[in-house]
């Protein structure tokens, strides 16, 4: 186990997230892909904190902030999903015409 192995793992997980975001059409699938990408970033933070940092506590603190921000983001995003469903919009992103620019 070394830093490079962790970084490669994080890169692969992030690429999975990119793939899922480009491929899926259901809005919740896309949110799940975003979660995966954030997860990869957290792996990076913890790996750098473990192997490199002169101040390893900061890595954990950053991860805690990321988790807090993600939960705020997901709360609002899922509230939007529920509101869309209430107003009888499809949850398929390619059919959400009202949000098109």
């Amino acid at each position: 186990m070394n830093l490079t192995a962790c970084l490669v793992l994080a890169a692969l997980v992030f690429a999975c997230g990119v793939f899922g975001m480009l491929r899926n059409r259901h809005i919740i699938n896309i949110l799940i892909s975003i979660e995966l990408m954030l997860n990869a970033v957290m792996i990076n933070f913890i790996a750098f904190a473990h192997f490199r940092a002169a101040d390893p506590t900061a890595g954990s603190v950053f991860v805690i902030f990321i988790i807090a921000l993600t939960s705020a983001e997901m709360a609002v995003a899922l509230a939007v999903v529920i509101a869309l469903y209430r107003q009888r919009h499809p949850l398929d992103v390619e059919r959400m015409k009202r949000l098109h620019g």
């Binding site: 186990m1 192995a5 970084l7 793992l9 890169a11 692969l12 997980v13 992030f14 690429a15 999975c16 997230g17 990119v18 793939f19 899922g20 480009l22 899926n24 059409r25 919740i28 699938n29 799940i32 892909s33 995966l36 997860n39 957290m42 792996i43 913890i46 790996a47 904190a49 490199r52 940092a53 002169a54 101040d55 390893p56 506590t57 890595g59 954990s60 603190v61 991860v63 805690i64 902030f65 988790i67 807090a68 921000l69 993600t70 939960s71 705020a72 983001e73 997901m74 709360a75 609002v76 899922l78 509230a79 939007v80 999903v81 529920i82 469903y85 209430r86 009888r88 499809p90 949850l91």
Partner: protein, 183 residues
């Protein structure tokens, strides 16, 4: 190869496998469960990297909160069994190509970074073992010293409050709403 390496590679395989499942499974609920698996094995990786508190928060907040919330939303909004149509096959190929290209770029950056990699100051093992613990993190989060995180902590708490209020007001049922669900 010692036991840590074995655990790391097993955990990495678990993370990657469930990440692939999470983005490729057809049913949304199954994808959410695969995401839960990926996050859980990431918590295991955090434990291997001596970030115990981060692993704890990951399990409590991420798996216990966010993913459960996703599952609830799926159950509230989806008619079980009904599936969103797939993207066009050409578009799926394009997504795969894009992700592969992205991955190749990231790995190339990593490979290029080898050249200027210097053996950085590695924290002592004792400091490392303490760093992920609850005590050190708690002190750092609430200390007003220059290396403390008091101000970001307060800002995040404000943001969480705003997100809470926003989420409730967005998802609230409007007055006189006759029913639920798409037509």
């Amino acid at each position: 190869m010692n036991i840590t390496d074995v655990l790391f590679y097993a955990d990495a395989a678990l993370i990657l496998g469930s990440a692939v499942l999470a983005v490729s499974l057809r049913h949304v609920l199954h994808a959410a469960l695969a995401l839960m698996m990926a996050l859980f094995s990431t918590a295991g990786l955090f434990l291997l990297l001596h970030a115990e508190f981060a692993a704890l928060v990951q399990v409590l907040v991420y798996i216990g909160g966010v993913v459960i919330f996703i599952v609830y939303t799926i159950l509230l909004t989806a008619h079980l069994g009904e599936e969103v149509p797939r993207s066009h096959p050409a578009k799926q190929l394009g997504a795969l190509a894009g992700a592969l290209l992205f991955c190749a770029l990231l790995l190339a950056v990593l490979w290029a970074g080898r050249a200027w990699e210097v053996p950085a100051a590695h924290a002592a093992d004792a400091a490392l073992a303490q760093a992920g613990g609850v005590k050190g993190i708690g002190r750092r989060l609430l200390s007003a010293a220059p290396d403390g995180f008091l101000v970001p902590f307060e800002i995040v708490s404000l943001l969480l409050l705003a997100a809470l209020v926003g989420a409730i007001s967005i998802a609230r049922k409007p007055a006189g709403d006759p029913g639920e669900g798409p037509k």
